[in-house]
Amino acid sequence: MSTTTFETVARIVQEEHHCDPTLIRRDVPLIDLGLDSLALMEFIFSVEDAFHLRLPEDKLDPREAGITLGDLCDAIDARMAEEAAGSAMHPEPARA
């Protein structure tokens, strides 16, 4: 069984940012996770690293009030779907 997007995101925010486990729910706004602006930047960076993608700020600005962990997971899933669709149309040449 594969790890869900939420499980990966939850692991990162807990292990790397020592977030209170009771706060790690889809409906919790990122602002309420107890992370300051620096930690929030680091968290998004770690998430992008884990999923090998970038989240352009017009798709998701973590500083925007009300954006939740659930919204973040949805944005990741949407981005992964976009990239999968893009690769299907323009497959990358095989690398040595």
């Binding site: 790397e16 300051d36 620096l38 930690a39 930047m41 680091e42 690293d49």
Partner: protein
């Protein structure tokens, strides 16, 4: 004109000889060596083996800093050492301070700051097209450790970073002494760190041809003052002191471990890397004058003693000039713990204090060349000597900064300490 002696009320260290000052003292008593062979491979560019002095078992991810960011390894070492020293001195923490925060200062040395993180991050950037972390600037800036320490202990008087190559920690300690004596702070956390055992940085040192090849027994890799010396063992580590006036220590009920009696600094202003005896002599004499002591009253010197061709010759001449030929027993502890760069001045001061308190001088494995004219303590075991009252620790850096510290027992030997 001499300055008032200050109390050392806390010591902390993480070094290639172990984590914590008890481990360091134990290793020095047993004359252990923390050097081991390490290979560097940068595909298509470098492949070599050198003698490295690493803090094996130290995991920077286990150290949480007050900033909350993932710490550079050097900053993590600094925090670990400073926390041990602060605990011994009873300083408390930023959340529960035991001293007036606005009278507590941090003076911290590092040769290259967060360079290891920068080396790793830029390798990711250029070789693997991976973006820089948002906190790159904050973890690699040379004052990162001083900043973390100031936050950890709530030090609001000053947070100063000193970059003086291999004299950084000694300078930080000396400048902290000056600040406390002048009344700019009551208590200071002073010391230094270095962590640069990443491939790019080590390759930089290798390019200068100063790294000792890792041939033979670890204890013989770095051979200070020896005829066949071949460079130093590059290392990492951190050490911290807490210093304050004797009055302040007594009022607080803090333990007085030893006294800092004198500090002298000078600059060669001659060559970017080759040392000058004249500059070293001036720094040693300045430290003695600051301590109000004559050379004959110094019972032991912890030399800078890197094991380089030029460095050892200059220092041997300087020691002869100040103390007379074979005039004072000298230990070159870089043979045991490696060249700890920005941390060296602090770690070697702790080695000097060890000698002061135990009357046993750490030994380098290989004897000095007779032409050096110095009494280098050598062999497999420390040399036992009659108790003495004062010790000197030398740091003579690339760039020409010389920093010398004199430390003393709280009471004269035989007076019941």
């Amino acid at each position: 004109m001499s300055g008032a002696p200050l109390a050392i009320t806390g010591l902390g260290a993480v070094t290639p000889l172990g984590a914590g000052t008890p481990a360091l003292h134990g290793a020095l008593s047993d004359n252990l060596c923390g050097i081991a062979a390490r290979e560097i491979v940068i595909e298509g560019v470098e492949r070599f083996t050198f003698g490295a002095a690493a803090c094996a078992g130290f995991d920077e991810r286990q150290q949480r800093g007050p900033s909350g960011v993932a710490l550079d390894r050097g900053t993590a070492l600094a925090l670990a050492a400073a926390r041990e020293a602060a605990a011994q001195a009873g300083l408390g923490t930023a959340a529960e301070p035991a001293v007036d925060a606005e009278r507590l200062a941090v003076y911290w040395g590092a040769g290259m700051g967060g360079a290891a993180s920068l080396d790793q991050t830029t390798e990711q950037l250029y070789a693997h097209r991976r973006r820089m972390r948002p906190t790159t600037v904050l973890t690699t800036m040379p004052n990162a450790a001083a900043a973390e320490l100031s936050m950890a202990f709530g030090a609001r008087a000053a947070s100063m970073g000193y970059a003086c190559a291999c004299a950084s920690a000694a300078v930080a300690i000396g400048e902290a002494m000056r600040a406390v004596r002048a009344g700019w702070a009551d208590v200071a956390i002073a010391g230094g760190h270095e962590a640069l055992l990443t491939p790019g940085l080590v390759a930089g040192w290798q390019a200068m041809k100063v790294l000792a090849p890792a041939a033979g027994a670890p204890a013989e890799v770095c051979r200070p003052f020896a005829a066949d010396r071949a460079g130093f063992a590059l290392g990492e580590g951190a050490a911290a002191l807490v210093i304050e006036s004797l009055d302040c220590a007594r009022r607080r009920g803090a333990p007085v471990l030893a006294l800092l009696s004198g500090y002298g600094t000078s600059c060669d202003a001659e060559h970017i890397s080759s040392p000058s005896s004249r500059g070293q002599v001036r720094a040693m004499r300045a430290a003695l004058a600051d301590a109000g002591l004559s050379p004959a009253e110094i019972g032991h010197v912890n030399a800078h003693g890197t094991g380089t061709t030029a460095g050892d010759v200059a220092e041997a001449a300087s020691l002869a000039e100040v103390f007379g030929t074979v005039g004072v027993p000298v230990s070159a502890t870089k043979a045991l713990h490696g060249h700890l760069m920005g941390a060296g001045g602090a770690i070697e001061l702790i080695c000097a204090l060890h000698a002061l308190h135990t009357s046993r001088l750490p030994a380098a494995a290989v004897p000095p060349a007779p032409s050096m004219g110095i009494d280098l303590v050598h062999g497999r075991t420390p040399r036992a000597v009659a108790p003495f009252a004062h010790v000197m620790s030398n740091s003579f850096a690339f760039g020409g900064t010389n920093a010398v510290i004199v430390a003393s027992r709280l009471r004269a030997p035989g007076a019941g300490d």
